[in-house]
């Protein structure tokens, strides 16, 4: 192609970029004075929050060198899918090698994979993937029902306000994150065991029935919550139609 022919193409490209509907945001990044070799998560992964709202805890990542020691003043850049907002989106690690950012998830209820990246001394990029979960209306109602009725037994973690009952049970309940087991159960199975208790699926009577306590829509919300927090993620079977 002739050199002159390229000019209109370049022009068109420039115009289309500058006129595109979504303005590109450029993040002003500070100048790093040190470079790390690896980036690890300190806290803030696997949180849930209502769509469009900030996560309860900030996401904290740490920059380390080859020996695993913390590196201060290294540049960390956060990226995420459309709709995810970071405050701040980039910055230098502090004196203990940590970089803290508040994350607001997008408006689609699903999992969001965030990437925290640093540049190493050799100019290569080191990345860390962090997963967060945005809850839609149903999943959020489900998460509140989970807090009230389920979490005491199905969540092994204890907090000062909510001591887990998991260790006290002879037959251990499945944590809702246990996708390997729960993903195999159909919506109907989950609805049955929530409504009618463990014996409905020949399981332990220690799981009581909630069909007389929760409404049908509440149980649907609970199932939606269980599906969205499961790990590995739950893939809906979709609709299967008869072949022609």
């Amino acid at each position: 192609m002739k050199r002159t022919a390229r000019i209109p193409i370049l022009l068109a490209a420039a115009v289309s970029v500058s006129c595109s509907r979504q303005p590109k945001t450029f993040v002003l990044v500070p100048k790093p004075t040190a470079y790390g070799a690896a980036i690890v998560e300190s806290s803030g992964g696997k949180q849930t929050a209502e769509v469009g709202t900030p996560l309860g805890q900030p996401v904290v990542v740490q920059v380390n060198d080859e020996q695993g020691n913390a590196v201060a003043s290294a540049l960390v850049i956060m990226r995420g899918p459309n709709g995810v907002a970071f405050d701040p989106a980039a910055g230098l690690s502090d004196s203990s090698g940590q970089f803290t950012t508040i994350v607001s998830l997008g408006t689609i209820p699903s999992r969001y994979q965030l990437t925290a990246s640093i540049t190493t001394k050799t100019g290569k990029a080191a990345e860390l993937k962090i997963e967060e979960i945005a809850l839609g209306y149903q999943e959020m109602v489900g998460s509140q029902l989970n807090d009230l009725h389920c979490a005491r037994c199905h969540n092994q973690e204890s907090t000062p306000e909510r001591v887990s009952n998991y260790d006290n049970l002879e037959v251990k309940p499945h944590p809702f994150t246990e996708g390997d087991t729960l993903n195999k159960m159909s919506e109907a199975d989950l609805t049955a065991i929530i409504s009618h208790g463990g014996p409905a699926l020949n399981k332990s009577p220690l799981m009581p029935p909630y069909g007389y306590t929760l409404s049908k829509s509440e149980i649907r919300a609970l199932v939606a919550y269980i599906r969205i927090v499961s790990d590995p993620p739950y893939g809906a079977p979709g609709i299967v139609y008869a072949q022609k």
Partner: protein, 690 residues
């Protein structure tokens, strides 16, 4: 009529003869006529509808989807609600559950919410211009239209327009509404509900009538300059006062203070002074602080910097730098002497205990707090200036102050803030011109809107700000004009007052701070509205003497108030007679004497069929569950009629309780009741033998 020659020449030059001119002109006319349909064809909505048809054509259920799809402009018209929404013109897939995987707008499936789009439309919840048919006009406010579409984080505000009560699906709105009452917003701003009643504050700003008895001018100065420096959880906002303003206000407050009638016990004061230098006394004092469950309401910062304790009362980490020893010993003895309206209970501590506790608390100091506060002696000018400032800043909106009248309308009313036109708002620089951005900025940085504004600076987290914006947006013009059939009123505010001698005791002990009775009170402890139907008298007497916890996993406990036997009798009699549920006949079932067969059946149901041991403990050796209360003594604690009715339907007796309903048959419930009533506890059985 003949055209001028120049025009004729022009015509001939361009078109040639008359016939050709006619032909060309016709063509121009056709083109002109085609403009409207062409514009229509290239309209946003047409483009999106074609896109939707392309999208569904590739899917396995294309035939069904195409049958659902209606081309052309769609409209939802609800005259009663003032809704004219054409959003479904482009958002064609709102109701297509099989398109769940499509995340690109405008083809997203609407999540399952309790309302149907045909009944409420779209703009009711999302705002925006429902009647517009172009993307820009529908979602932003480019012309004279005012309402931009709400971002996802503020959607809950729309639920609050009709729903005046708390909903499960709106945690942000619930938080925001609670905060409006809790952080004193409604002390200055009037916010009326749909029924015209103003929102009432739930915080309890201390009266400053006798402030000089309680604390020093220096502490007031430091507090006014930065309340959060004293306690990070303080709800008092920062008024960003200049040094001399804080100096003069503190001078005025001390000068206007009148003496309170505090009981001064020298014995307690002496004891209190000894605690500081005596390790043994300190240990005793610390355990008394623990046994009295002060931490259920008050937080103290631990060595790691975390706050440990409840938030009903103020944080006590630096209380020794704040209060005067004489005041503290009087307060610990009976807080009502200083502030009759306080929520703190009147513990019946002995003089020695008062000394121990106040000495222990006086030891909680922070030497840095007042290190740099040096105030000149007060002058009449300072007092005069301080009084003027107190009026200017509206201090009396929250606090009762001698000589200052409470201002009636200190700050703008916010009843219609959720629909305030943008052109009536004065924006600070860098704040986007939308109502919700305005409200958010105003809460975050009120003084950025002008240095002379009086709204103080709060320290809210992002989640708290979002909650408040949601709560404020819900107070809209639309909410006020909503037909009454569509709105759900808030639960009525209860002004229940227990009567007589027991009523006075309940007030003195401030039971309402933690317990709810007849719709009034706190939620830290169980609702006692039906307590008389629920428990046996002997147990209640014992419990008042020595309140043991029923729930092993709970940190917060009922404190021991050191009541006299006569006081316990009064309270017990009142509870047993007044707090009775009409649904339960206490004498319908016996407390003991169930047939062994029935008890055995109940035991089997308990352990095998219903797995109650998952949450409750009966046999301390093998049962471990501790979600529900321990049932080892349940037979000597609860009445059989209550147990039976509870088993049949727990939520009917205490709405929102965790225990699920089981749909037991009458026989099963009776057998389980028999088994539970046979659990009298070892101590009681031994006591009977003796």
């Amino acid at each position: 009529m003949r055209l001028p020659d120049s025009l004729v020449k022009l015509r001939q030059k361009f078109f040639g003869d008359t016939v050709r001119t006619f032909g060309w002109m016709s063509l121009v006319l056709v083109v002109l006529l085609a403009i409207a349909p062409t514009k229509d064809y290239f309209a946003d909505w047409h483009r999106y509808q074609r896109g939707y048809e392309r999208l569904i054509s590739k899917r396995s259920d294309a035939v069904t989807l195409r049958r659902h799809f209606e081309p052309g402009i769609q409209q939802i018209w609800l005259p009663e609600l003032g809704v004219v929404d054409r959003c479904t013109t482009c958002h064609s897939a709102l109701k297509e559950a099989t398109l769940m995987d499509i995340t690109a707008q405008p083809y997203r499936h609407h999540p399952d919410v309790p309302h149907k789009v045909e009944e409420f439309g779209c703009s009711m919840c999302h705002r925006g211009q429902g009647a517009a048919t172009s993307v820009e006009e529908a979602h932003k406010s480019t012309l004279a239209w005012e309402e931009p579409i709400l971002p996802a984080k503020y959607l809950e505000s729309s639920c609050g327009q009709c729903h005046q009560q708390d909903l499960k699906g709106t945690p942000q709105l619930n938080l925001g509404r609670k905060m409006l009452a809790q952080y004193g917003c409604v002390h200055c701003h009037t916010i009326k509900r749909l029924d015209g009643t103003p929102l009432a504050a739930t915080d309890d700003p201390p009266p400053l009538l006798h402030i000089a008895d309680k604390t020093t001018r220096e502490w007031i100065y430091a507090w006014l300059k930065d309340p959060q420096a004293y306690s990070s959880t303080a709800t008092m906002p920062n008024f960003k006062l200049k040094d001399e303003e804080a100096r003069d206000i503190s001078t005025f407050l001390i000068a206007s203070s009148t003496p309170a009638s505090l009981k001064i016990m020298p014995a307690s004061l002496d004891q209190s002074k000894k605690v500081k230098d005596d390790a043994a006394l300190q240990t005793k004092a610390a355990s008394l602080y623990g046994e009295s469950f002060c931490a259920s309401c008050h937080a103290v910062q631990n060595a790691a910097g975390n706050l440990v304790g409840g938030n009903l009362g103020p944080e006590l980490t630096k209380v020794g730098s704040k209060v005067k020893p004489v005041w503290l010993q009087a307060w610990v003895r009976n807080p009502h002497d200083y502030d009759p309206a306080t929520g703190m209970p009147h513990y019946r501590f002995s003089d020695r205990e008062v000394g121990l506790l106040s000495g222990f608390l006086m030891g909680k100091t922070d030497s840095d707090l007042l290190a740099n506060v040096h105030l000149d002696p007060a002058t009449p000018e300072q007092i005069e200036h301080g009084k003027r400032l107190v009026n200017e800043y509206g201090c009396a909106s929250c606090h009762v102050i001698n000589g200052i009248k409470r201002p009636e309308t200190f700050a703008p009313e916010l009843t219609k803030i959720g629909s305030k036109p943008v052109n009536q708002l004065a924006f600070a620089p860098d704040v986007p011109h939308t109502l919700y951005d305005f409200i958010e900025a105003k809460i975050r940085q009120p003084r950025a809107f002008g240095p002379s504004l009086k709204m103080p600076q709060y320290n809210f987290t992002t989640a708290q700000v979002n909650g408040l914006v949601n709560a404020l947006l819900s107070h809209s013009e639309r909410a006020l004009t909503m037909p009454a059939t569509k709105t759900v009123p808030a639960p009525a505010v209860s002004h229940y007052e227990p009567a007589g001698k027991a009523g006075q005791l309940i007030k003195d002990l401030n039971c309402f701070s933690c317990h709810t009775m007849n719709g009034r009170g706190g939620d830290m402890a169980p609702d006692l509205t039906w307590e008389g139907s629920s428990v046996q008298r002997d147990w209640l007497v014992q419990f008042f003497r020595n309140p043991n916890t029923l729930r092993p996993a709970l940190i917060r406990r009922m404190p021991k108030f050191n009541l006299t036997d006569a006081e316990i009798d009064t309270l017990t009699d009142y509870i047993m007679t007044v707090y009775q549920s009409p649904k339960i006949d206490r004498d319908s079932m016996p407390l003991a004497g169930y047939a062994p067969g029935q008890v055995e059946l109940g035991k089997q149901l308990y352990y095998s069929k219903y797995g109650c041991q998952a949450c409750h403990i009966i046999d301390t050796k093998q049962d471990k569950g501790y979600i529900g209360p321990t049932l080892t003594h349940v037979g000597s604690r609860l009445t059989a009629a209550w147990v039976y009715n509870w088993l049949k339907d727990p939520q009917a007796l205490r709405p929102g309780t965790q225990e699920p309903k089981r749909n037991l048959s009458d026989d099963e419930a009776r057998a389980l009741t028999g088994f539970l009533m046979s659990q009298k506890g070892r101590e009681t059985q031994e006591a009977k033998k003796r």
